[in-house]
């Protein structure tokens, strides 16, 4: 039962980090458009790196940015 499912279904999609591509160092918590596009789901949960393709350093900055935006009521905790 180990290899019944095809491997491609759960394979990581190779995307490039959009912040590295633009040469941006930090993620701004005030830019809600970018948070919505890359950082959070429809229900305002933090998207895992697996689906967005953001690099680790930017993902960590993104996570803090989302938490800061939540505190300032720019983005909901739960929808």
């Amino acid at each position: 039962m180990t290899s019944t499912t095809p491997k491609t279904s759960m394979a990581k999609v190779n995307k490039k980090c959009p912040f590295c591509a633009n040469g941006e160092k930090s993620v701004d918590y005030k830019n809600i458009g970018i948070l919505k596009q890359y950082g959070i789901t429809f229900f305002s949960k933090i998207k895992p790196r697996k689906y967005t393709g953001i690099c680790l350093s930017h993902q960590k900055r993104m996570a803090t940015a989302i938490k800061q935006a939540r505190f300032m009521a720019l983005v909901p905790f739960v929808k």
Binding site: K25, S26, D28, K30, N31, I32, G33, I34, K36, Q37, F42, Q68, R70, F71, M72, A73, L74, V75, P76, F77
Partner: protein, 151 residues
């Protein structure tokens, strides 16, 4: 002197002019009492909150960038915390480069809004349903009309 950035959230039970006055007072306090300088300030205006804070569903936002003596920041933050006319604030070290204007931020927010994506989903589904519903209905109707004519 270090450059800091604070986003203020004023409660909506104040009038907009009153909230702006509070903002001006804070700016005055920075420049006069703490010998700092205001680098950038922008009044965002009234915005709906993402969730309810106390009894408020809306609030006035204002962004301020200023250079400030780091040793006095704790004192200043404590002052803001006690201030009843400031609902929330977030002080951070200012990011590099010029801050984005509020108009640009709103434009980027609208470019990727939930309503838009939800509307797209609905728009895709609707015509399919109508097509599926129409074909059996029309056939049934024609059958019924044919039967009535025969009777």
């Amino acid at each position: 002197m270090k450059k800091y950035e604070t986003l203020f959230l004023f409660p909506s039970d104040l009038a907009e002019t009153a909230a702006q006055k509070v903002f001006e007072e804070i700016k005055k306090r920075i420049t006069e009492d703490f010998s700092g300088t205001v680098v950038f300030s922008e009044w965002w205006g009234k915005r709906p909150l993402a969730y309810r804070i106390g009894s408020f569903n809306t609030g006035f936002y204002a962004l301020l960038q200023y250079s400030f003596p780091p040793e006095k920041l704790k004192e200043f933050d404590e002052e803001l915390r006690i201030n009843a006319k400031v609902l929330r604030f977030l002080s951070l070290i200012a990011p590099e480069g010029e801050p984005l204007s509020y108009a640009k931020l709103v434009a980027e927010e609208h470019a990727f809004s939930d309503e838009k994506s939800a509307g797209k989903r609905r728009a895709k589904k609707r015509p399919k349903r109508i097509e599926n519903l129409k074909s059996p209905q029309s056939s049934l109707l024609s059958d019924a009309s044919g039967n009535s004519e025969n009777d």
